[in-house]
Amino acid sequence: MTDLVGSPETTEAVDRIGLRRRRWTGDLTFRGVLAALAVGTTLILGFMMVGSFVTAAPVYQKFGIIGFLTGTKWEPSFTIYGAWPFIYGTVLTSLLALLIAVPISVLIALLLTDLAPARLRGPLGVAVDLLAAVPSVVYGLWGLLVLVPVMRPFEQGVAGTLGKVVPFLGPPTPGPSYFAAAVILAVMTVPIISAVTREVFASTPRLQREAVLALGGTRWDVARTVTIPIGRAGLLAAIVLGLGRAIGETIAVTLVVGNSNNIGTSIFAPGFTLASVIANEFNEATETLHPEALIALGTVLLVISVLVNAGAITIRDRFTGGLRSGF
């Protein structure tokens, strides 16, 4: 740029007009402090993560990683621990929950961005978002004392009819079950999935939407040919985000899932998820290796959750330009 760099003439001239660069400005300390903060926080969280694995190590050593993950027996009094029933429960309840929540969320998103009169969209949107504000323990309480008894006759009906053909939908129907947990999880994930999906649909290019309408298309055509296809990636991100939330939900699930160590054969059977068994057994975990085994389950949950969430973030950032909902 300039041929006067660093020469004594420049320094003098620069000093004279008072424009000298100051070495240790407030800015540098500022940046330093912030960087230390970011690094420090990262390190502390990383340290905690490692600490959990370290605590759980004895259990992994005893059963082997694969052995622990696939073990189907969980009997603390015999010091036998296997994670599979809980992994099964987590996957089952989450997928069932998504099965219920996703269509509902997509329909709501369409309603609130396209189909409903503009005046209603705001308040209705707030109402749906409020679903997310209710603490999970309250959902659990309500689920246990209200939802489960109410659903029971319906469950018995299904189990008695379809259940005869498909054992998966059959008895037993004690009330608290995978299905009950899935319903509660669905209620809790609808606000998340629909919030993100609403943002995605709202950013559908107007040009395309209006093109379909101008050609005589109905709103259904718009949704079918423009809104949903264009929002595919964002929709996927929303679903994965909801999945992440469903996987980790603890208290609401604990209260309604039935608390059984077995792998239930029907969705109406009681069971456990990774999160709910930890919550349920932790305070009474006095057997050998019991606490460590529960923490090991926690590490499994941690890994699954990080993978799912990292996936959601990657999809979101890569395909949707970083939309973030207010959660």
Binding site: M1, V5, T10, A13, I17, L19, R20
Partner: protein, 300 residues
Amino acid sequence: MTTRSEDPLLAVETPQMTASVADPGGVPGARPEPAAGSARPPTEVAMTVRDLSAWYGQRRAVREISLDIDARAITAIIGPSGSGKSTLLRCLDRMHEVVPGARSSGQVLYQGVDIYDPMIEPAAVRRTIGMVFQQPNPFPTMTIYDNVAAPARFNGVVKGKAAEDDLVQRCLTRAALWNEVKDKLRHGGTSLSGGQQQRLCIARALALEPKVLLMDEPCSALDPVATLQVEELMSHLKADYTIVIVTHNMQQASRVSDTTAFLTMGEDRAGYLVEVGPTSEIFTSPKQQLTEDYISGRFG
């Protein structure tokens, strides 16, 4: 940090600057008509631009511009949209590089020193070369008083309440705003009209005691009355400050400025300098055909 009593423009001698014969009177365009064919009478030069080019990422916005900015005069930069006027202006106080991906090459000399010299702190440059923007932008969370005083306080220009009070009054007076706001100094910065807000921004820039004032289309967001106020203000200010103004309003340029530089977009879509000279010359007998075309409204 220079103080007001010293005037480094006169004190320093470098090869780039000629001895000063201060321009008599501040009336725009009233300098003696140069004899046909002769060079302009020697004036003091505040800044010199040499071969300045600027890019936004891969796209070049300004191509190799060289010109002198006279001290204590108003230099107008005119040209059609996209000709790089604002980019050029922003290069003069290192605001161009604030945009992510933006860069520049060439030199901008202030008192013989290139402001892009790595030894120099950009923030320091901006305290000496101030800027007023197109859209008035007083800080909404500060009072009128603080809008003027705070930047000066942060930069160490004043210390102590008495000095601040004095500075605020001085600057608001220079910006022809004091009488209108002296009773509401504690009101919010955005509680004023557009023209008043712009004058507040000018006062704020003046509080840092700059030597040069850059103005990027300062009147285009204002109504005609406010525009007139700001133009009058400029003619008074040029007695003490060097002013560079970008404007798309040719009448304003011819009304207000002493020197005019005409930029236009080249074939490579980068702006370049077509012609620069005394305002009266540019507007009555420009040397370039392009200038003539622009002035007479044939394009732009």
